[in-house]
Amino acid sequence: MEQEKVIQIRDLKVYYKQYRKNIFGKKRRHQVLKGVSIDVFEGEILGLAGESGCGKSTLAKAIVGMNKDIEGEINLKYSDTQMVFQDPYSSLNPSKKIGWLLEEPLRVDKERKWTPKERKEKVLEIMKAIGLPKEMLERYPSQLSGGQRQRVSIGVALMRSPKVIIADEPVSALDVTIQAQILQLLQQLNRDLGITILFISHDLRVIYQICNHVAIMKHGEIKEYGIPYEVYRNPQNDYTKELLTAAGIK
């Protein structure tokens, strides 16, 4: 069956501007992504792997429109794409309560107006989905553990029922046992709600566990793409081999 593409990227180049601090200095343009093409299919979990500075987060930000200086094509099937970030301590506003944070996406929704009652109902529904008791709505992020915060971050992303979520290293800052729980939650959302997930990680083991496809990135390029089982068993690219060896997989 030919699956539908929810994200289609063709020859994407992203640049970062670097201002020199001195006013005499000139602007430089630094190419971070050097022509990336990739497809994300409806209902899958695509793993994006690579080491720090390889451009995987840049790709994510380009998809949601946070990078402006880009060339190439990004076609999105759904306009509302949400993100979950790595650090659950910085992705939740410390001065707001959990309930407020969850309601905020509905308050600023441009598609429709939500009445306070509708908002409350939606919040309760999401709290159930992410497995947190509703007493926590009255707490501040600082009163939650790392794993609970990451659940809230996922909840915030889910509020407007998006079809696509980009998760940027969502478990890297967590303890291993908590990691497993969050991965389970993501898999469950993918299975039960049919949400397509672009899963960014440096951990090839985690990617193997939950992803349908994997793309290996280095220096702003995709080095290898395929089904994890096949890529891991028979890596074509030297860098992929190096990563697998380093992770103790091969």
Partner: protein, 266 residues
Amino acid sequence: MGNVILDVADLHIEFHDHDKPETVVEDFDLMLEEGEIVGIVGESGSGKSMSALAIAGLLKRHALTKKGRIMFNGTDLLTCSRKELRSYQGDEISMIFQEPMTSLNPVKKIGWQVEESLRIHHKDIDKKERKRRAIEMLTAVGMHDPEKLYEKYPHELSGGMRQRVMIAAAMIGEPRILIADEPTTALDVTIQAQIVELLRKMNREKGTAIIFISHDLSLIRQICKRVIVMQSGNIVETGYVEDIFRHPKMSYTRKLIAAIPQIDLS
């Protein structure tokens, strides 16, 4: 059975930073044989770093009480004078830390920092000899152009290079014990593999015993023979790594092992 060089028994650590005392390590035991690598694994708050800092004599920032004994060279490091403790620190017992970015002094040159232990413990070694050894050490940890590096500052190096410098500085006095507290956690996987390999090489060539602390059980499996599994201040299980992987006795150990995604490529 080899020669036991470090014998930690019944270690208790209690913090008094607040009104209510808080036990962070309870009943910690560790026998370290000459030249072996022992792993300590656990999640955040398991007390693994605290035990390591206690062994290295570095728990002075907190108001705390320590009980038990840490026998090294016939001396109890817990009760001996600070002066005696200092005479071992950096010379017989060295330590490297998780954050290579912040563990080096930003305003001192690499060379100065690498040879610091020599300057403190071996006053008989002159400046020229110190520099020779520092450069030898920097070469041994795989740095290119050590002469130039000697004059550089930490901010000019990448994270992996800084951790190599930390290892060079820790190893320059040829210590008998090296305590490595999550030395690769802040690094990329390929760099991580290089650092682990470097530690193995140091262990092989200099015969330094290593206490390797990590949250990553699969990494421990790559480098250690024996492992201690810790949870909330207590030792849960201890034994040979392969035994524990094959027949974990405690449910927490099983949970830790289950959390490692299994990859079966056959």
